[in-house]
Each structure stands twice: as structure tokens, then as C-alpha cells.
Amino acid sequence: MGYLSLTDADRAEMLAAIGVSSLDELFDQIPPGVRFGRELEVPPALGEAELARHLEELASRNVHTGSELSFVGAGIYDHYVPSVADVVLSRGEFLTAYTPYQPEMSQGTLQAIFEYQTVICELTGMDVSNASGYDGCTVAADACFVARHVSDRRKVVLAETLNPQVRQVVKTYARGFGFEVVELGHRDGVVDPDELGAAASDAAAVFFQQPNFLGCLEDAPALAAAANDAGALSVAHVDLMSLSVLESPGAYGCALAIGEGQSAGNWPSYGGPHYGFLASRSDYVRRMPGRIVGETVDADGRRAYVLTLQTREQHIRREKATSNITTNQTLLALAGLATLSWLGPEGLREVGETCLALSQYARERVPLEPAFDQPVFKEVAFRTPMPARELVRRARERGVNPGYALGRDYEGMEDVLLVAVTEKKTVEDLDRLASVIEEVCA
């Protein structure tokens, strides 16, 4: 086994030093009744070349974004992942270190997380960010847990236009938090601020998404205000890649901003690993879940970074912790940092404007009726003259995957297709989409 180093001579020397005559003696502590008496029934060992061949064969049976022209988004987007992200992802030091418990050994990771926190704060308009959550779903559950501690109310309101998987995860966690979950319907693709205000009146927190899962831009400032006025924490689920052109949750008064970081610097990777981000106003800093890095000085007065406010965390506070999280998604978050540093303010603005321009073009060019009359950012929902899944099937026969059939999540939307663009798409790509849809609908 090429990952193991002990030679027979090593083993003999080591057993002698331990003072046992065989390895088995070390396992005397395992009661005979629970010792495993046979060989594991798993496939035989493969050398690296064989292993590569096996996994290449498996990979070749997946239809990935490079194999067809695809307009599927719905939470995971095909934005460009720049090569500077590889510098983070391929460096052995970043890759093979763990949580920086010993700051003198990990100033690099710590400083990078501090920079990541700053970038998240800048984009969301918040005061403090943690070092990442698992994904865009679990950070919503985390935010509920914050609300559970800062409010006596035991209800949370979720806009129905919030990503369905996010809602599902909140519901799964809510039971343990003792939270009732209420979902609020949409009107023409967006949530009504008055309805939201009413629902929020006895809620600990209110969650909405901007741009929302149906592709529409909510009147987010009005939603946040309605939640705040009702005494609920307002939580915006946002897309980092939109935050150069769309207003920041901080600016419109949200208590927390959360989201799925994948679009900024991570590959789709069939759903993960990605990073979830969670940022808040400073009011809630001591209720934040997860790692947070702070700046301090060393014994020589030199600037240095360290995990801080650890009294929030499970290893200190145990059952009173703000979360049970320990392993998080640092590496992916740092790929996000590299990506956003590479884009810079101008680049991110251009990505945003390209998304706006292309989605507008799609709306005009695709020979289908827009499903909602709302402004959009990078996704447009269209009504389809046949079940959307059927349209998808037919278009794919022509080499174009036209989007996501919203009927997969929303009853009554079986004829709605959600078309996503990113800055990687071109006018020609959209023209091709338009003509394929024309063909299959003819």
C-alpha cells in the first residue's frame, strides 16, 4: 500500500519498543465478541493507474456542463471559476492543514479567512461574517438558531420564493429548535410586503431570497422593512455574484445575510462541496455560529490573526454553544476569496451587468411568454406550451438543455421553465436556445 511506510524491519522494532510480540496483543482491549472475524467484503485494491481508469470511466458516464449547452441554474450556477482559485486549491499547505487552532502554525489560513470575512461583509453590507457554513441551506438553519436565541418567538416565516431546498432544511432543523415554520406564497413571482409583515408579527425571523428562486427581483427593501417593523429578524438569502449591481442586505436593513457561495468560485461538482456564508449586524456577533477570525498582536506587537470569540463554540460552550459546527468549508470559501479578489469591484460589476443584459436579451429573444412580470437578474421564468419537462427533453435531443422545470418544486408550475445565464453565455448561445425552442414548440 503506497500510502503506508512501515517496513517489516520497522514493525519488528516498533513492536519490540512497545513490548508486545505481535500486533494482535494491542487489540486485546477489543472484547472478543465485537472483533471482526473476517476480511472486509469490499472490492479489491487498485493501484493508482487502475484507480484513475475506473474513476475516469465513471466520470465519462455523466453529462456535464461541457457536453451540452445548458441553461440550468436554480441555485447552482456556471459562472467562470478563474485559474487563480487553483493557487488556493492546489497548494498542499492550504489543502492539508486543518482548522487553525494553533495560530502560529496557520497565519496564512487565518489571514485568508479574515480577508474572506471582510469580502463577505463588504458584499452583504454586514458587520461580521463567520468563516463559512456547510452550504446555502444549512446557513439558513444556522440563522434560525441565532433567531431562537435573540427572540422569544417560536415561529419562522419563509417566503415560498426562497430556494425549496433551503426551506426543506429549515423545516428539518425547526423541529429540534421548537420552531413552527410558515411559508408565504407569492404574487406574480414575488412576495407581498404587507402579507409578509402580517405573517412576521409573531415570528422570530423572516427569510426571503434576492433574486428569488423564480428568477424575480423581490422588493427586498420593503420586505426587510416589513419584517423589521414586525419585530422579526430579517434574513436575506443572496447571491454574491449579484451584489455589485443589487443593493446589499445591510443597506436595506437586514439583520442577517446568508447564501450559497458556489456561484463565486466553486465548480458545480454535482452539489458540493461548496460554502455557505453567514453575515450579521454586530448586534448578533456573540450569537454567530462557527469559526470567526480576529486580528490581534503577538508577543512582539506584530499583527497576527487568531480564531476568536470561541466562547460561542461547542468545544468551549458545549451544550450551550451557538452551533455544533466544527469542520466547515474553509477551502471553498478561500477559493471564493481568490475569485472575488480576481474580479475586483469592476469585474464583479461587469459580471452583474452581463447577467442583467443577457437575461434581458433572453427574455426578448426566447419565443416564450415570461411567466412573471418582474425585473430579473440572471434567471428568467417562461411559460411553456407543453409541460416544461417535455420541452426540456425535446430540446436536449437537439443538444441544448434549456433550463430547469419549476414544476419539480412548485405545484401548478408544471409549465414554467427557468432559464439561467451567467457571464459565460453569449448572444449566440441565446440565439441557439431561442431557435431550438422555436423548433421544439413548432
Binding site: E104, E122, Q165, L348
Partner: protein, 494 residues
């Protein structure tokens, strides 16, 4: 500007401090199309102050930060409970295959057969290792596996109409266990460890009753000791109608040697980033699949991967499921690595655990005279020493030992955990270390024990060879500076 040896290593500006207005790296495509106007209230008012750098300095920045980071690739990293083993390089290649990396998670099942087969294979191997039949891959890490497990217990008892509100954990338990108990809405009870490092059965019997939903246990424990009474423990819980949850953080000790399912555990989580070598990435990502007995299978999070003949699919139709705990079907890239790791070993996975145990016992044998050994037994894959002898005799703490190890080019072990051992040094060498690295570590630890007697001030002021010396952690918490504040960034005054 002065030339100080190693100066460059010590001074690394923030990426924001490298920024200059007007610089940029990435140039996204700009189609020749008008940009629609957004309603004013939705439009960004203040541009975000992202850093402005050209590509060369971005690369240098992250290269410099990597240089200031110590990983397994840099050297020995015996961080107890974390299983800092070698991460095979081929995994990075495989996870980056376009068929994996660029696969959209909304892909139809028929377009993801390779991915689903991989996940199904992974489930099968995990099930065989745990000795339990059903697996969910969804949880994102061990902690989430724990929480998922507790939710499964609730669903199990709910269906049976039983109201059980208490979970018992060991006093040696990792902090995530009690934290998960609270998040799952349970009450916590604690059971003590006896003088041999096993669960105190008398204490346990006194605490288990009809309100007890279950036990959460790490076995081998965080002391690195296999619970010799595990069969009785299981009997006590099962006898009371309660369930047993296995915290798989220490699974690296027993793969192919003893199976949690055979020990009597009903629910098990795995840490793919520990036992199965997903790189730890400076904190993550991880993977925390959960395996369960048949009776608990109906409650697993949806979707699960199922096989129909030669076809694989995600089954979303799980009426009794606790629901979803994470997006999609789990951290797929982590599965690629874990699966590759298992396939590289095959049935010799048992060697992995055997060598992990051998390495730990060798280091223990060589260190037992210089440090205090609270439980005098052979250990499993890790062991806990105490520096209380050094503290008593020379005022040297576990922290001092840890900091001084850095000067020897070694990452410190876990310190001050588990809580039942004062001045704890929790040492997990892992199986991928050659004997020379173990010997280097032993030599360093012995030298430090001697330094404690001869020159304690060197230890007190260690480390001396890292980019920074010891940090003012109190200040960090008392006057928190949690982000860069540009022109308003507070000056560092000491």
C-alpha cells in the same frame, strides 16, 4: 526598509493593503447588449470595496499565505481526534475530472449514472465497514452527522409513540456531541469514565431510564481507548429501549477490526475527512455520512441513492424521512476522494487501522516515562498524555509544550482535550507516518521535557521560529476586530 532574515515570511500585507484603485485582474465577457436599468431601490448604492489587484500580485499573495501555513504536506501533524493523514494527490485529479467537477446537481439521474454509481458503491463500502445496512451520504460533516442521527432517533421514537427527551454522552465526549443534543432539542445527561478509561457502568445504569432516547459515544473514546465494556453498554441501552449512536471520529482505529454495528450501535457517522482522507482544507470541507440499522432506514434524509438493476437513481419519495439536512445529495467531491481512497486499499483497509494503532502505541511506549500517562493501557490509534508532571515540577504547561514543538518543525497535538485529563496532550500520529517522523517527534518531545527542567523560559516564550510569536488572544476577544475596516481600521497599539 531593513533586511532581516526571514522578514518576507513575517510580513504579509492584507490583500486589501495590496490593492490600488484602478487595478484589476479578471475581465468578464461583455456582450454587445444594453444593460437594463434596475429600479432605484434595488440598485447597489455603495460599491463593495473588493480588493483591486492585477493577477501577478494575487498569485503572490496566496502563495505567501500558503507559505505561512503548515499542513500535512509540510510535516508531522499529530493533532489528536483529527486524523491528519496523508491526502493522496490523485484524488485532486479525479475530483477535477470534468464528468465530476462540471456535473450540475440538477442533472437528471440518467445523465449522472457514473456519479450515482460511485455514490452507491461508496454507500455499500461504508455499510460493510460499519456493519449496518443503510447509509445516507447527505450530512456535510461529523457534527451534522450527529445532528442527523439525533433527528433519526426522534423520528424513530415518534413513530413508536415514545416520548424520550434525554441523550447521554460521556464526560470525554467531543463538544459537538452536547451541542448537537441541544440543537436536536434534547436534554443532556453525562456519564463518567472509570479508572480504566471505560464508561462507568454503575453510573450509566443509574442514568438510563425510559426518558433516555440514546447514547452518543466515541469508541475508541477520545482517550484513544476502546471501551472494554461496550457489550454491556449496548445491553443497558437496548434493554431500556434506547438507541446507541456512534461518533465515528475515531473510526480510523477499527476499520476491518471491529464494526460499530457489531458493537451494538444503531446509528453511526463517518468523518470522510478523517478516516477517508478528504483533505482538511484549513477547516473543511468534510463529509459526514450516516449508517443505520434497518429499523431506522425509513427516516433517512431524502434523497437517497438506490439501485434498480443496473440503473441508479436518487429516491426522493421517502414519506417517513426526517427531511433534507443539506443541499442536493451531499458533498459529491468529497465522495470522489473517499471512494478513491477505499478503492486504493480494498480489504487492506484493515492495514490502515492496524498501522494507525501500531504507530500510536510506539510513540506512547517511547514517551510514557517522560510524560504522565493517565490511563496505563495500550492505546488504539491515539493516546492522551498529561503534562501535569512538567507543570508541577517546572511550571511548564501543555500549551508550552505545544508551542515549543513548533520550533522543532512539528505541528502540536490537540491540547486540553479531553477535559477529564488535566494538561492533556492528545496525540494521533496516523498510519501514513514513517517511523522516522515518529522518532523525530519523540525526540522533540523528550528534548522538550528536558528543556522544561533546564531552560523553562525557552518554552514559556516559544515559539521562536514561526512567522509570529504567541498571540494576545484575550485582546482578540475583548476588542474584536473581525474584518478589515479600510481607513477606519484600528491601529495596533501594544
Amino acid at each position: 526598509m531593513t533586511a532581516e532574515p526571514g522578514r518576507a515570511w513575517r510580513d504579509t500585507p492584507l490583500v486589501f493593503e495590496r490593492s490600488r484603485p484602478g487595478r484589476r485582474a479578471g475581465r468578464p465577457p461583455r456582450p454587445d447588449l444594453p444593460v437594463p436599468e434596475l429600479p432605484g431601490s434595488l440598485r447597489r448604492s455603495q460599491p463593495p470595496r473588493l480588493p483591486e489587484l492585477a493577477e501577478p500580485e494575487i498569485v503572490r499573495h496566496f502563495t505567501a499565505l500558503a507559505d505561512r501555513t503548515f499542513g500535512v504536506d509540510t510535516g508531522f501533524y499529530p493533532l489528536g481526534s483529527c486524523t491528519m493523514k496523508h491526502n493522496p494527490r490523485v484524488h485532486e485529479r479525479l475530483a477535477a475530472l470534468p464528468g465530476f467537477r462540471d456535473l450540475h446537481p440538477h442533472a437528471e439521474d440518467e445523465d449522472a449514472q457514473g456519479a450515482l454509481e460511485l455514490m452507491w458503491n461508496l454507500q455499500e463500502i461504508l455499510a460493510e465497514i460499519a456493519g449496518l445496512p443503510a447509509v445516507t451520504l447527505q450530512p456535510a460533516a461529523g457534527s451534522q452527522g450527529e445532528l442527523t442521527g439525533l433527528m433519526l432517533m426522534r423520528a424513530y421514537f415518534d413513530e413508536r409513540g415514545e416520548e424520550r427527551d434525554t441523550i447521554i454522552t460521556a464526560d470525554t465526549a467531543h463538544g459537538t456531541n452536547p451541542a448537537s443534543v441541544t440543537m436536536a432539542g434534547y436534554q443532556l445527561a453525562r456519564v463518567e469514565t472509570d479508572a480504566r478509561g471505560n464508561l462507568d457502568l454503575a453510573d450509566l445504569r443509574a442514568k438510563v431510564n425510559e426518558r433516555t432516547a440514546g447514547l452518543m459515544l466515541t469508541n475508541p473514546s477520545t482517550l484513544g481507548l476502546f471501551d472494554e465494556g461496550i457489550e454491556e453498554v449496548a445491553e443497558i441501552f437496548h434493554g431500556a429501549g434506547a438507541l446507541l449512536y456512534y461518533d465515528g471520529a475515531n473510526l480510523n482505529a477499527v476499520v476491518g477490526l471491529s464494526r460499530p454495528g457489531d458493537m451494538g450501535f444503531d446509528i453511526v457517522h463517518y468523518n470522510l475527512h478523517k478516516t477517508f482522507s478528504q483533505p482538511h482544507g484549513g477547516g473543511g470541507p468534510g463529509g459526514g455520512p450516516v449508517a443505520v440499522r434497518e429499523s431506522i432506514e425509513p427516516y433517512l434524509p431524502a434523497p437517497v441513492v438506490v439501485r434498480d438493476g443496473d440503473v441508479f437513481r436518487l429516491d426522493h419519495d421517502r414519506p417517513k424521512s426526517i427531511g433534507r439536512v443539506r443541499g442536493f445529495a451531499g458533498p459529491f467531491g468529497v465522495f470522489v476522494r473517499a471512494y478513491a481512497y477505499m478503492r486504493a486499499y480494498g480489504p487492506e483497509l484493515r492495514d490502515m487501522s492496524e498501522v494507525a494503532v501500531l504507530n500510536a502505541n510506539y510513540v506512547l511506549a517511547r514517551l510514557r516515562d517522560a510524560y504522565d500517562l493517565p490511563y496505563d493501557r495500550h492505546c488504539m490509534h491515539e493516546f492522551v498524555l498529561s503534562a501535569r508532571n512538567l507543570k508541577r515540577e517546572h511550571g511548564i504547561t501543555a500549551l508550552d509544550v505545544a508551542k515549543r514543538l513548533m520550533d522543532y518543525g512539528i505541528h502540536p497535538p490537540t491540547v486540553y482535550f479531553p477535559l477529564v485529563v488535566p494538561e492533556a496532550l492528545m496525540i494521533e500520529p496516523t498510519e501514513t507516518e514513517p517511523k522516522e517522523r515518529l522518532d523525530d517527534f519523540v525526540d522533540a518531545m523528550l528534548a522538550i521535557a528536558q528543556e522544561a527542567a533546564e531552560s523553562p523560559e525557552v518554552l514559556k516564550s516559544a515559539p521562536h521560529g514561526r512567522p509570529v510569536r504567541r498571540l494576545d488572544e484575550v485582546r482578540a476577544a475583548k476588542q474584536p476586530v473581525l474584518r478589515y475596516l479600510f481607513d477606519e481600521h484600528p491601529a495596533l497599539v501594544t
